[in-house]
């Protein structure tokens, strides 16, 4: 268990995360404007009258965003609320044209209820992290303070884009389940898990650098073994795994120091300073804003029928975690290989396409992909929609399948396979079989020819034969090498081995 040593003893951490992921959709949560706000899009060209909060404009819920939220909910093993509500969270700021954010606050049932994700804890054991809720809400616009010498400019392209906020659950009634995050590493693993699920379901790019994934981090500390939870602080708007880990540790140490010096932690909202890696109080509890939440009268309660949930469930792709487990149990891959091959849906699809229905191919194909193919990303295609250089020889799943089959059927040996692979990388067209034919790469399995080569090698190396017979069996490699050399590398090493052993006794 992760602990921090204080002056007076060891401390453990209790961490809660509120993760915002931007929902992938063509249009915004409540308006028909495009949700594409990337920096190359000119400011305020993707803002509708609704986004600009013109008088009399009304929100209309984007059904696709609702489906995305359900999809994510199912990925989080969560209950989907049959009835949820939208409310207004009110505050004045120029990036919020309405003067309120339409959200699903804690007082109302959110679209996604209790769920969980599994991570490995710091000791390598599987650990469930409970999710309390996930809800839909509007993103704010962006203020630009450097576009004009004296004025700040507002860009409403991002205003109203759908966010899904995923909140972890601290089960204070059953703390012994230990189903919450207790270390900076676990926080990172949890976030990576969320990211992986979101990406594999197509719910979000969940990219912290792009801003499509952000997290608020709640941290509290308590003495190891203490029954009571401590007072938490919330550090807002964290945008990298590294910052999150530093902030958690810094904040925990800050709290420990306060308590050990006889003080009490105040439930403040903190700001993280990226340059110094420290946290400072942004807003104290006393100054907490009153958001005056109330149900948005422009929107009816959101009713979700079972049919919709089941329809979405039926189209849900296999989640990476499930896929990993299957690769290990059904295909006999190692944990490492399974992990590498489930880094993205596209990689998994490529792999499975190469394996086809011949499960024996799985291990060799995994080896080829991980040790050879991944080193040459330009030579294989994961996403058909991305334009590529037509002059490059693309290695297709069928190429690798054919190569692996040729080895297992003794048509070529490993060295020849490598040669064929390199030739493909170098631009050789044609299938591996055609390449083998063209360059005369064919394994010699004809016993007669091998026997004569073996006899020749034994005749020429009398002293080594003597040593072998006197017990230096390691010399078998020497003989194999000689035979391979004599056959120009074409002999089947297994057959050579077998014949050598027979002849040498």
């Amino acid at each position: 268990m992760y602990t921090i040593k204080g002056k007076t003893g060891d401390w453990e951490l209790v961490i809660g995360l509120e993760t915002h992921i931007e929902v992938t959709s063509n249009s915004k949560l409540f308006s028909g404007a495009s949700a594409d706000y990337n920096p190359s899009v000119p400011a305020n060209t993707q803002a509708s009258f609704v986004d600009a909060a013109m008088p009399g404009m009304l929100p209309v819920l984007n059904e696709y965003c609702v489906e995305q939220a359900i999809r994510m909910g199912l990925g989080l093993n969560a209950e989907i609320s049959k009835r949820s509500k939208f409310a207004r969270k009110q505050y004045f700021y120029p990036d919020l044209p309405q003067g309120y954010q339409i959200s699903q606050p804690a007082e109302e049932p959110p679209i996604v209820g209790r769920g969980w994700v599994e991570i490995t804890d710091d000791d390598g054991n599987p650990k469930k992290i409970l999710i309390e809720r996930a809800h839909l809400e509007q993103d704010a616009g962006k203020l630009k303070h450097d576009a004009h010498p004296t004025k700040s400019m507002a860009d409403y392209n991002r205003t109203g884009v759908a966010l899904l906020e995923i909140v972890t659950f601290l089960d204070t009634k059953n703390p012994e389940n230990n189903s919450y995050i207790t270390s900076p590493d676990e926080a990172e693993k949890y976030l990576r898990q969320i990211r992986e699920i979101a990406r594999s379901l197509g719910v979000s790019n969940a990219n912290m650098e792009e801003g499509s994934m952000r997290a608020d981090v709640n941290v509290s500390v308590r003495r190891v073994g203490a029954a009571e939870f401590g007072t938490r602080t919330e550090t807002k708007n964290m945008v990298s795994f590294k910052f999150i880990k530093t902030a958690i540790e810094y904040e925990a140490r800050r709290q420990i120091e306060i308590i050990e010096n006889g003080g009490t932690v105040s439930q403040d909202t903190m700001h993280y300073n990226q340059d110094s890696g420290t946290t400072t109080v942004m807003r104290s509890k006393e100054d907490a804003l009153d958001y005056r939440y109330f149900p948005d009268p422009d929107l009816l309660p959101l009713i979700i029928e079972d049919d919709l949930i089941e329809r979405i469930r039926a189209t849900l792709p296999e989640l990476p975690s499930v896929r990993r487990a299957r690769y290990m149990s059904e295909l006999g891959l190692s944990e490492y290989d399974a992990a590498r091959l489930t880094e993205s849906v596209q990689i998994s699809n490529w792999f499975e396409s190469a394996v086809g229905d011949k499960l024996v191919r799985a291990k060799p194909i995994a080896n080829w992909m991980i040790s050879e193919l991944f080193a040459h990303p330009e030579n294989f295609v994961l996403d058909e929609s991305i334009q590529r250089d037509e002059s490059i020889r693309i290695i297709a799943p069928s190429d690798l399948a054919e190569l692996v089959d040729m080895i297992s059927e003794n048509e070529i040996n490993g060295k020849m396979a490598k040669d064929i692979f390199v030739k493909m990388l170098d631009g050789e067209t044609g299938s591996p079989k055609q390449i083998a034919d063209k360059f005369g790469l064919k394994q010699m399995s004809d016993t007669g020819a091998i026997v004569s080569a073996v006899d020749d090698v034994i005749a020429k190396n009398a002293s080594q034969v003597e040593q072998y017979k006197s017990g230096k069996v390691g010399l078998i490699g020497f003989f194999v090498g000689q035979v391979m050399k004599a056959t120009g590398g074409a002999a089947n090493p297994e057959v050579v081995n077998k014949i050598l052993k027979e002849k040498l006794g």
């Binding site: 009399g56 003067g99 005056r292 109330f294």
Partner: protein
């Protein structure tokens, strides 16, 4: 023939027969507006060029033999409905120079029905008020006994002033707590608050979203039905819009009164109303009885709490809806020393006293310490009232009640805010319940001022509400020809 005395139904007949043209009719209204407009102050913005262009298009369609349902009918549009390219102010300084680039669904539907837009009518600022006195542009007045400067009511007082005086043949209002029915009642007009969701709110400047209901104001029930036919219908841009419609072709069909069960609300018996109102109401009840209707007493136990609930819910929603007027993107902006100062100066200068009062109240009732005791409690009362109406409608088909306690008061009456709020007593409950209610003239008081009574129905029973209102209109026999109210 006095063109501005025609009802919509009459004008449509004459337009169809070719007896008059839309341009003649429009010019008659524009002339009368020229004559009386300033005195009545019923329009904030006049659109004569647009009106004549609309009329010319109508005449072409009549000539071609393919007129639209309300082709050539000159109307006034409450200045709460966004009109593309035409200033839309909500009678507020903060939107004094705001010209939207979009057309509200309701005003678009009137364009689609072939109406002629005379102008944008005056109202209380953001529709908050009962005398239209909170308008930044000054109050409109009633054409009745014009020397007495009586209120035309509010918040849709510009439309009632215009329609009662013959400066529009009909018009639009919005009713959040009585803003169509009260002004219609005291100006001798028919004001229909349809079922919530029947008419789209899209493009209509929001006051209290869960209560705001666009509806028609006209001189006759038939005319109100014709206007409502144009306004009503599902709108995918308004999430609270109902998948329902309303359609009357030329005139309402008759509803048989025999055996019709009409409820009278018991709790309203205890409310003090003027002797005139009581007398006229009782007379109309007698008329209904004589025609075979069965009058029964129904109970809406919390109806007298409706006012309190309304004055929590409406300001709460308003405080939120009006947050967007921050001077950042459109409308008035008063520069301050920093962002917060700019917000404060802009909103202090842009909003009038009553709007500010309601926003302060609304902000307070939504604060975390007040939410449960005020807002949630009001929401519960609202539910109780809606449930009670539902139960009442298990016993009766329709309900009738007064529209107001008495006749129009002088504009300069010195009422406290609470006294103004109390004027909504008979109307707010129907907004809380979202059910249709129509105020129809029930006669003249001794002071020769009109009074109205309401017909209330269950949700989406708008047709029968108007059908019963039409009977009451006939019983009352009020002459509301503009030429006789304020001359030719």
């Amino acid at each position: 023939m006095n063109l501005t005395d025609l009802t919509i139904a009459e004008a449509l007949e004459k337009l169809k027969s070719g007896e008059i043209t839309a341009t003649e009719l429009t010019r008659a209204y524009l002339d009368r507006i020229e004559k009386f407009g300033d005195q009545l102050n019923c329009y904030i913005t006049l659109t004569p060029e647009r009106a004549l262009a609309d009329a010319a298009e109508s005449d072409k369609r009549y000539a071609a033999g393919n007129p639209l349902p309300l082709d050539g009918i000159p109307i006034g549009m409450k200045d709460l409905f966004a009109t593309r390219g035409i200033r839309t102010t909500a009678a507020s300084h903060i939107l004094e120079n705001f010209t939207p680039e979009y057309e509200s669904t309701v005003s678009q539907k009137f364009i689609d029905a072939g109406t002629v837009l005379l102008g944008k009518t005056n109202l209380d600022e953001f529709a908050m008020g009962t005398f239209s006195k909170t308008s930044f542009f000054g109050a409109p007045i009633s054409p009745y006994q014009i020397e007495n400067k009586l209120t035309a009511g509010g918040s849709s007082g510009g439309t009632t002033s215009a329609v009662a005086s013959g400066l529009a043949i009909g018009g639009t209002g919005t009713d959040t707590g009585g803003s169509i029915r009260f002004p219609a009642a005291i100006t001798g007009l028919v004001g229909m608050k349809p079922t919530y969701g029947l008419c789209s709110r899209w493009g209509c400047v929001a006051f209290a979203s869960s209560l705001d209901t666009p509806g028609p104001i006209a001189r006759t029930v038939d005319d109100a039905a014709l206007l409502l036919s144009a306004m009503a219908g599902y709108d995918e841009k308004d999430s609270t819009s109902a998948n329902a419609g309303f359609y009357v072709k030329d005139r309402l069909t008759q509803i048989g009164l025999n055996k019709l069960k009409i409820g009278v609300i018991k709790e309203f018996d205890d409310v003090e109303i003027s002797p005139d109102m009581k007398k006229l109401f009782d007379e109309r009840i007698e008329d209904l009885k004589k025609s075979g209707a069965e009058i029964i007493t129904v109970s809406i136990p919390n109806i007298l709490d409706a006012l309190a609930a309304y004055y929590i819910i409406a300001p709460a929603e308003a405080s939120s809806n009006l947050a967007r007027y921050d001077g950042m993107r459109y409308g008035l902006r008063v520069e301050g020393k920093d962002l917060i100062d700019t917000y404060k100066k802009t909103r202090a200068a842009g909003f009038g006293e009553e709007v500010q009062r309601r926003m302060v109240v609304g902000t307070a009732v939504l604060s975390s310490e007040s939410y449960e005791v005020y807002f949630m409690q009001a929401a519960r009362v609202r539910r109780l009232i809606a449930d009670a109406f539902n139960r009442a409608f298990e016993q009766c088909d329709l309900i009738v009640c007064p529209s107001s306690a008495g006749t129009a008061l002088p504009l300069d009456s010195d009422l406290s805010p609470l006294e103004y709020y109390a004027l909504d007593l008979f109307t707010v409950a129907m907004n809380l319940a979202g059910i249709p209610a129509c105020s129809v003239p029930c006669g003249l008081a001794e002071n020769k001022l009109p009074l109205g009574m309401q017909v209330v129905g269950r949700a989406f029973d708008d047709m029968r509400v108007l059908q019963l209102a039409k009977h009451i209109e006939e019983f009352a026999g009020l002459n509301n020809k503009p030429s006789e109210i304020m001359g030719k």
